[in-house]
């Protein structure tokens, strides 16, 4: 019974995060729709659960996002899941202290890795299939900067609020 409840809540939370992400993207004005909620959830889950299955959960979330992508299938999925894996390793080996600045640095680096892999894959796609590679421009870097700034800022606010209500994210409570 416990497993069934866990499975249902897992599915429910996945769809809920997806719909919240779509709400932010569709309803908020520029530049606020650049907030990457899926990424915020992935970073928070890595810190909260400290478990490898979070990477597979990220895989599922980015798979759903890929269904709504105008780009060739797999670009969002690969760049998202790989950046989740890198975030997980960075958390386990470098940003281990659960401090607010560590969390922000984790999200900052994770987003840079995410967009870096994303652009490389679009470049490879245009190279292999002879498409025009028109994505690199000043506007792109402006949009990426907005995305990083707003996502990291939102994550920072959520993290600070969470530390007020739970001890699990407190830096004193690190498991050794």
């Amino acid at each position: 019974m416990k497993r069934i409840i866990k499975f249902i809540s897992f599915l429910f939370s996945t769809f809920l995060i997806f719909f919240l992400h779509s709400f932010i993207f569709l309803a908020l004005p520029f530049p606020f729709y650049q907030i990457n909620l899926v990424f915020i959830v992935v970073v928070l889950m890595v810190i909260w659960y400290e478990a490898g299955w979070v990477v597979w959960y990220a895989f599922l979330l980015f798979l759903l996002l890929d269904f709504y992508s105008a780009l060739p299938f797999g670009i969002t999925l690969f760049s998202g899941t790989m950046s989740a894996l890198i975030i997980f390793y960075l958390y386990l080996n470098i940003f281990t202290n659960k401090s607010w600045y560590g969390v922000l640095a984790l999200a900052f680096l994770g987003l840079i890795v995410f967009r870096f892999i994303y652009i490389i894959l679009i470049f490879l796609d245009s190279l292999i299939f002879g498409k025009e590679f028109g994505i690199i421009s000043q506007d792109l870097f402006r949009l990426i900067s907005w995305e990083i700034f707003l996502t990291v800022a939102t994550l920072g606010i959520i993290f600070i609020l969470l530390t007020k209500f739970t001890k699990r994210l407190n830096s004193i409570m690190i498991k050794t």
Binding site: F18, H21, S22, N36, F59, G74, F78, T81, M82, I135
Partner: protein, 262 residues
């Protein structure tokens, strides 16, 4: 530890690659379609809700005492405005296609794609309805809004004309009937490039499709010239366009599935 990391990275990459292969081979389609049907309901509702809220925000508050009544009326008015707009769009689309040798199918916008660097919409029609990659998509009055870039069984993705990867052959309705390339800029702007320097462009000139692209008939409206960028050392001039359709509020569109070349 390093070995475990390598193994994990390889395992994750392998699963992603298998998923991509299954997707392109079509084996994943039944499951994908079921998940998409569930997601489309929610995303469609959010998209429509957003249009509704925008409509309400356009109306101003008059009397604080009648707040509740006013809010209810505002909701009704917004709903009515949407229905009226839908009706107008459908009538315009019918008028446009009358007496034209064009096969088309009506479609509803059920959402936008979630890529922050592109500008695309998702339609509730796909391969089963004859919608194919490259088909032009028009809004009311025959205004071109984009081209189909991805078509699946029951849904399709339209790259809007303001997407930075959008390229459409256009013609200006000036005395030179200048030909150029209409390009988008990250959902923010639309401009027409490659117009020869010696040709005259006037503010307000209309840009239409040139008919030089296969599958896109000549004469579909794109936009009007808002400003012109002309540098003496450049071989071409550039016209900044104002699209004739509000690309953020699309709800009903038509996909041109076949053009009779006669």
């Amino acid at each position: 530890m390093e070995k475990t990391k390598k193994k994990t990275i390889i395992a994750v990459s392998f699963v992603i690659l298998v998923t991509i292969l299954l997707h392109f081979s079509g084996w994943l389609s039944p499951l994908e379609n079921r998940i998409k049907n569930i997601l489309n309901m929610g995303v469609g509702y959010i998209y429509k809700f957003n249009l509704n809220v925008n409509e309400q925000q356009n109306q101003t508050l008059v009397c604080p005492d009648l707040q509740t009544e006013l809010n209810k009326l505002k909701i009704d008015k917004a709903k009515l405005a949407i229905i009226e707009e839908e009706n107008k769009q459908l009538r315009d689309q019918l008028n446009f296609f009358e007496n034209k040798q064009i096969k088309h199918t009506g479609a509803q916008v059920i959402g936008r794609d979630f890529e922050p660097f592109s500008s695309s919409i998702i339609l509730n029609k796909g391969l089963k309805d004859g919608v194919q990659e490259g088909n032009p998509v028009v809004a009311s009055g025959g205004v071109l809004v984009g081209k189909i870039i991805k078509s699946e069984d029951t849904t399709s993705v339209v790259r809007l004309i303001n997407d930075n990867q959008s390229r459409i052959a256009g013609t200006l309705t000036n005395k030179d009937t200048s030909i150029g390339l209409v390009e988008g800029g990250y959902g923010i702007s639309v401009h027409m490039n490659l117009i020869p320097q010696n040709e005259t462009i006037n503010i307000g000139d209309t840009v239409i499709t040139s008919g030089l692209e296969a599958g896109i008939p000549r004469g579909l409206l794109i936009g009007t010239v808002e400003s012109v960028e002309k540098e003496p050392y450049q071989p071409f001039q550039k016209a900044i366009l104002q699209p004739l359709s509000n690309l953020n509020k699309l709800f009903l569109v038509s996909v041109i599935t076949q053009v009779d070349e006669d």
